[in-house]
Symmetry: C2
Subunit: 444 residues, 2 copies
């Protein structure tokens, strides 16, 4: 169900707790660019690490890569982005608003007297759609001419394709095998928005899986299933997830089959990961444009072929938004409303808060000692400011799964209470056992 106020609440919580800030905020902000604060960077790092572990470390058939953002402009000619990575752009001559030509709110054909501006309501004020390339362009070296043009990559995938033979040779992999990469990409979007959902600078976690032609459909289905399972394992509510298959008129120029994984955001169902059968399109084009053979030679049959590629392309920022939206809840506890981020413990920025019940009787010293000891094993946070209830609430909002409190009884029997963020149950654990107890609960 669409709930626009939820997004406002989330943006506000994200700033208050230090997850996400507007970029260049003191200068009025830069449109649709966001900075990750202390908790946000930990959340994002945990998400990336989890993805990297499942893709690269726990599999023998996938290698990692980190290609640069700047690439030779020929790469983007070969990939089709220079000629085809465009959106139709329409301006209203009256109210000066700007639209994508395919904006569903526009009535009539832009450029004709009948077309109506969805904002100011004027008729005949919309310009004819003109194609606008979404790649950011810059110049390498001091001369700003055609020869020195470079683009900020609009997708990380091409860095994988142009390195595919280098990786193959260095790693001694055999087909089928994959190359995984995490990195920034840039798109000069006409209508960015919805917080960190559609931004001009964003991060992708992409994996390109190279297979023998004819085996691509089987591998496509394999990866489609694996990716959905991965999101469910992350604790995202399954009823908020669904597949959307691209109809033939939705398919990108390189794709034979494509499925999106969609999440039901407060602003509707939207894609946050795509699984694409890119066929041999990209490698064939790079072979043609570079003049370098990009064939794979089968080590047994000596067959030569250009591999087909199955791509899984996940937006890090979009997944961060999925995780935040999915975790956000308000509930009433003992007559008070509390805001909770029910983040999965493995990706929570802070694993436990450590609190002295009161700031006296030696409790802060004991709590500090527990904190300093835990810090070597886990990200923890010490807090002795304000009432214990307020400190719990702050950590609830930060998504911290456990709260460890040193109280009067601690001084007698060396036990502390461990509070569970979700159930609010409190257990007494011996101080010596807290580290192991948390590690066990975090693994579960």
């Amino acid at each position: 169900m669409a709930d626009p106020t939820l997004m406002d609440k989330l943006v506000s919580l994200a700033k208050r707790r230090g997850f996400i800030f507007q970029s260049s905020e003191i200068y009025g902000g830069l449109g649709s660019v966001w900075d990750y604060g202390p908790l946000g960077v930990e959340l994002k790092n945990n998400i990336k690490e989890r993805w990297w572990r499942s893709m690269v470390h726990e599999r023998d058939d996938i290698e990692g890569l980190d290609a640069a953002i700047l690439m030779h402009s020929k790469v983007w000619e070969a990939s089709g982005h220079v000629s085809g990575f465009t959106d139709p752009l329409v301006d209203c001559k009256v109210c000066k608003n700007r639209f994508r030509g395919d904006d569903e709110r526009i009535k009539g054909q832009p450029g004709t007297p009948e077309a109506q501006c969805p904002i100011c309501g004027n008729r005949g004020s919309l310009t004819e759609p003109r194609m606008f390339n979404l790649m950011f362009k810059t110049f390498m070296g001091p001369v700003e001419d055609e020869a020195s043009v470079v683009y900020l990559r609009p997708e990380t995938a091409q860095g994988i394709y142009v390195n595919y033979l280098n990786v193959l040779q260095a790693s001694r992999q055999k087909i089928p095998f994959g190359i995984a990469q995490v990195g920034k990409a840039f798109r000069n979007e006409i209508t960015p928005g919805n917080f960190i959902f559609r931004t001009r600078e964003f991060e992708q976690m992409e994996m390109q899986y190279f297979v023998k032609p004819g085996e691509d459909e089987r591998w496509f289905e394999e990866w489609r299933g694996l990716r959905m399972t991965w999101h469910c394992d992350l604790g995202i509510k399954p009823e908020k997830l669904r597949f959307h298959q691209h109809a033939s008129d939705e398919l990108a120029h390189y794709a034979k089959v494509a499925y999106d994984i969609e999440y039901e955001f407060p602003f509707g169902w939207q894609e946050f990961e795509g699984i694409h059968n890119r066929t041999d399109f990209d490698l064939t084009r790079h072979q043609e444009y570079s003049g370098k053979k990009l064939e794979y030679v089968d080590t047994v049959s000596r067959e030569r072929f250009i591999p087909y590629v199955i791509e899984t392309s996940l937006g890090t920022d979009r997944l961060a938004l999925v995780v935040l939206v999915d975790a956000y809840r308000e509930e009433t506890v003992e007559g008070e409303t509390r805001v909770v981020l029910g983040l999965a413990p493995t990706i929570a920025p802070i694993k436990a808060g450590v609190f002295p019940l009161v700031k006296k009787d030696g409790m802060p010293e004991v709590a500090r000692r527990i904190h300093d000891d835990l810090r070597r094993r886990l990200p923890v946070f010490y807090d002795d400011g304000g009432s214990i209830g307020r400190r719990y609430r702050r950590q609830d909002e930060a998504g911290t799964p456990f709260g460890i409190t040193v109280d009067g009884q601690t001084l007698e029997d060396q036990t502390v209470t461990v509070r569970d963020r979700d159930t609010l149950a409190q257990e007494r654990i011996h101080t010596d056992q807290v580290g192991r107890y948390l590690e066990d609960r975090l693994r579960a």
Copy 2:
């Protein structure tokens, strides 16, 4: 001692083993931009994780941040980069080579008839130096005009300064405190080079420490010492490290005192980390340009002041080069030359190779089982291709500290040999104990 052939060997090893590839190589390469391969990305991630842990996770007084690469152009006016981040550029009208105006090989004053081109030797062919801004410029939105100019950040530091109040409020830190960040920066260098030493796209690990004016000199000395110790703890040879203090004519426009940490590369002593006392320069300028108060209010004395900033700025790629150069050695073992990367085990991309001595008698199955079991705890690599000596050599070049071999005796008593990369000593360990044995050795 300068050893240019060492750089060639390193570039070759980096490609062969999958550490580093030339960007867009199949298109002839993009000047001074490099891609990290399967082993390179693991090495770099291990370095970054180690830095992040020591800066953010193991300290209470430093918060993490991940600001976007794109920032409001006012940021760079305030910081002084729009007007002052320039290098003097000189062209030779005869041989068309390009130089920095302060190139020591140029004899005479460029632009005069006496000045001599260091490449073609002509006199009077060098142009007068013209100032060239090193920031990459692009446009946000479809209109390429002054209002839409954005720059790729030439340093990550400004992302920290403009977010300093947001981080302070969300984290409830008190001065002195720091903000740490890892991220890409871009400089349109006139003369990049030396492999990954000076590149146009690079990664920084920066920490900005906010202190009370008057306490800055003490904190500067503290951080200068901590940073040098950190590099020594990483295992870099201390005799290859030194401080270089900036003379007054070397100081950047924002700096009061600056020390470089230099390493003796094969191309000479060069800086890879800088510790700078940036005073209140940046925050004062941002306060002025944004019109937003950036003062800190002392929670006890209610004093108001603009903090001074001590910066530690480390190049991730430069540190990766330091680590590779420092680890590279050739030695003769039993009459054969071997190439070894003696990487510290904590940052080695692969922690252990797992080998069946021969491809029969069930050895591969046992080795596979050990590998699959270890993989859940550590990055390991299974290899059954070629002679055992060749497999050891491949892992020596990859910097893998341990080799685990399943041999005839394994089938009798369930022990394997564990080979130490550096001493070549082999110990027999029970298969059940290998994981724990490696973890202990890796911690040491």
